[in-house]
Amino acid sequence: MKMENPALVELDGAAGEGGGQILRSALTLAMITGRPFVIRRIRAGRARPGLLRQHLTAVQAAAAICAAQVEGAELGSTQLRFDPGAVRAGNYRFAIGSAGSAALVLQTVLPALWLAGAASCVSVSGGTHNQSAPPFEFLAQAWTPLLARMGVKQTLSLLRHGFYPAGGGEIIAHVEPVAGLQGISLLERGPLQDMHAEALVAGVPYKVALRELESVLAAFPAAGQTVIELPMEQGPGNALLLRVVHEVGCEVFCGFGERGVSAERIANGVVQAARRYLASPAVVDAHLADQLLLPMALAGAGEFTATEASAHLLSNKAVIEAFLPVSIALSQCQAAVHVRVCASG
């Protein structure tokens, strides 16, 4: 009932992308704006509806940072109410095990600490290189530099790798507070400056890394290459990361080794993703587009071109517009999607 509490935001968890993204974006925005929210029909269309452990982990981390009152934070719960308190900067440690990814937890809580008035240090231990979550390198090399141009002061460091299923990795984020963010315009990539492939192996034969790199090289002969052999006990794990650097910034494409899937197939997936991006005039790929929307909304201005208007992007847009007085306009611009954020009202 909006009449009772005009600040309450009501969300439909099954709308749009219908997964954990809506919940994570809502948590971040509630922390920043102080507005409570209720989300219903959480993951209603999924095989296992309701909150899973990884979602609970994000809720608990967010609640810890802003001393929130939470109702319905239970496994399988399809409804959650989150009443945030004031965000408190400081030192936090979250041990999430293999239930979810460190990157997703950091993306949820860090924006609240950017403007928190004091320095923070957040350590998240668990999976750092998991399927269906951005790897550490994406956060550090693609996301953080663009945020820096908007005024965000954060540095990320990887203390230990954590692969699925063993986990055991750790990322530490340091945040210096800033007064506000500035909008930026990312409409031109500029010239391609560098391509570099990195193959990580832990407890997996070295030649797997070599075969992955060979496949990348076959597609992009100019790309640099590195094999990083991690200690056996951090494994088993294998990831292939391809960094594509233009004048405007960096994109990171990744693939993860899996039992029963050949090194060539993994490399091929990464190559295809990079090719699609390179063939597009857009500045950012789908994943980075998702993550730029929120800081631009906080700045109250900004624009970029993205390879596509993904379901995640559209869900994010809807949640952001529900919390913040901004409007986000999407328009097709040649083969890319032009996204423009501006203050509304």
Binding site: G76, G97, G126, P165, A166, G167, G203, M232, Q234
Partner: protein, 529 residues
């Protein structure tokens, strides 16, 4: 939110997949249990022995890494033989007894995938008996085809079967069918009768102990005994035959021989060996009706046969074996017979464990209508002819049959006879008002005759000189006397209340004096039998 606490064994086979990093790619039930996206375990109590401390510590470390919020506790038990049912059950039972369960704040699961099969069975039994207020949790290996990771799958099984609609419905159907069988498909309405049948169903399913059916003649004792037999046979609890005998028909040596059999040449005329009823009932059910009529020797033999499942046939020095379910029936009050020394106390104690009193038809007026339908069906079955009441006739008959006028002294047998008569006399398969009226007259006359005849036969014309008050009292006294074996027994029954106030009661004398007032004595009453 309740905390989740899991008990389980360290799987010395399944959880042990080596120490190298490749262990993470293998399915380990206990580790996988802690890695489920939709199950969060707060406390995991892992049972293991001394030799597996190392494996426990490694698992504890691995679980800390993948599920940092799970507290893993070691519970060391040293089983001499983990395949020994008694030992494992005792160990787990001890664990349950010692654990401070807090079901208000904690939710308990028993992990059944690890441990021996014996452990699995014990977990099941302890959960089923609620020694562990827990549900069972089963882990299973990943289905690779479906892209499941090494953590595999988990399913939680709640033994509270009422939660499983399909199974519960099936059990309910089975039970309904059993009850219906015991009631011969008659939808009886009398609550105390139905309660009794429900208990008999449960006892029949779970116990092999003898049953005792008391009640007036025609109340359906023999009928019920046969139904119990059919129920037990349908459940594969009995394989043998149904053997029925009315003990009142057995007398002397013939009684011994009929019950326990005899060897060839055991007595004059015993030209061949005879198995006897007890041996014929081996593996089946023996229904001894009117058990109070058995002589002292037969009672003694029967007791031995029930207790030891073996006995000596007449004239044989070789014991034979027979294992049968016994149901005894009686019209007489066996307790009083024990008190007067006519029935063995030890035999009574043996057969009195499950004792049921079948009410007569007059005490179950609400069951008249369903029994009437049953009798019509039975007639149709036996005579191949459908007979129905017309509506008015049926109402009139039921009104009479459930009124206080209807004494139903012969109970269900008498109702059956009434229906047979009406159905036979009915034209074109319809029982009308006329047939009903005739039958009512017939029944009333029968009950009337019964009384006047008794007094007239004993007192002659003098019966006509008695007040109705005296006639009614005397009729009932004579009825009791004829149900009893001795004057003393009858006296005890008739003066059952007042005798307790007297320090030395002479009930027999009181009764003798009462009878003498009408010129009657004990011998003259028994003479008619």
């Amino acid at each position: 939110m309740k905390r989740t606490v899991v008990f389980g064994f360290v799987g010395t086979v399944l959880d042990y997949v080596g120490k190298g990093s490749e262990r993470w790619e293998k399915w380990r039930p206990t580790v996988g249990l802690c890695q489920q996206a939709d199950l969060l375990i707060d406390t995991l109590v892992l049972l293991h022995d001394e030799r597996n401390r190392g494996l426990f510590s490694r698992m504890q470390r691995d679980i800390a890494q993948i599920s940092p919020n799970t507290e893993v506790i070691s519970h060391e038990i040293n089983l001499r033989d983990p395949w020994d049912f008694e030992e494992v059950y005792a160990a787990l039972h001890d664990l349950a007894s010692a654990y401070a369960f807090d079901t208000e704040h904690e939710d308990y699961l028993l992990h059944i995938t690890t441990g021996t099969h014996v452990a699995q069975i014990c977990w099941f039994l302890l959960a089923e008996s609620r020694h562990f207020p827990a549900r069972l949790v089963q882990t299973s290996p990943p289905i690779k085809r479906l892209g499941q990771g090494p953590e595999g799958r988990v399913s939680i099984i709640d033994l509270d079967l009422s939660r499983y609609d399909k199974i519960a419905t099936r059990f309910a159907h089975e039970r309904d069918a059993s009850l219906s069988l015991l009631k011969s498909g008659i939808a009886t309405l009398n609550p105390s009768f139905n309660r009794m049948i429900e208990q008999i169903e449960r006892v029949a399913a779970r116990s092999k102990a003898p049953m005792l059916l008391c009640g007036p003649t025609g109340a359906g004792k023999s009928f019920l005994a046969r139904r119990v037999f059919e129920l037990k046979r349908a459940r594969h609890q009995l394989t043998g035959r149904f053997v029925e005998v009315n003990c009142a028909t057995l007398r002397g040596d013939a009684a011994m021989s009929a019950l326990f059999g005899h060897a060839k040449g055991a007595f004059t005329g015993a030209q061949t060996e005879r198995a006897g009823l007890l041996r014929s009932a081996d593996g089946g059910l023996l229904f001894l009706d009117e058990i109070g009529e058995l002589g002292a020797d037969e009672q003694a033999m029967l007791l031995k046969a029930i207790e030891e499942k073996r006995f000596f046939p007449l004239g044989s020095d070789r014991e034979v074996e027979s294992d049968f379910q016994l149901i005894a029936g009686t019209v007489r009050d066996l307790r009083a017979m024990v008190a007067s020394g006519e029935f063995r106390e030890d035999l009574y104690a043996r057969i009195n464990l499950w004792s049921y009193t079948l009410p007569g038809l007059a005490e179950r007026p609400e069951d008249l209508a369903p029994n009437l339908d049953y009798e019509l069906e039975r007639f149709a079955r036996e005579h191949g002819e459908q007979v129905r009441f017309n509506r008015e006739a049926r109402e009139r008959f039921l009104r009479f049959a459930t009124s206080s006028q209807a004494r139903w002294r012969g109970n269900f047998r008498e109702l059956g006879a009434a229906v047979t008569r009406m159905a036979t006399l009915a034209d074109s398969g319809r029982i009308g008002i006329d047939e009903v009226d005739e039958e009512i007259t017939r029944l009333q006359a029968g009950w009337q005759d019964d009384q006047t005849d008794t007094l007239r036969e004993l007192l002659g014309d003098a019966a006509g000189t008695l007040d109705l008050f005296d006639r009614m009292q005397l009729e009932q006294v004579i009825k009791v006397c004829r149900e009893c074996r001795t004057l003393s027994e009858a006296g005890r029954r008739l003066f059952d209340v007042s005798r307790q106030e007297k320090s030395s009661s002479n009930d027999a004398d009181r009764l003798r004096k009462y009878l003498a007032r009408f010129g009657l004595d004990w011998a003259s009453l028994q003479g008619r039998d």
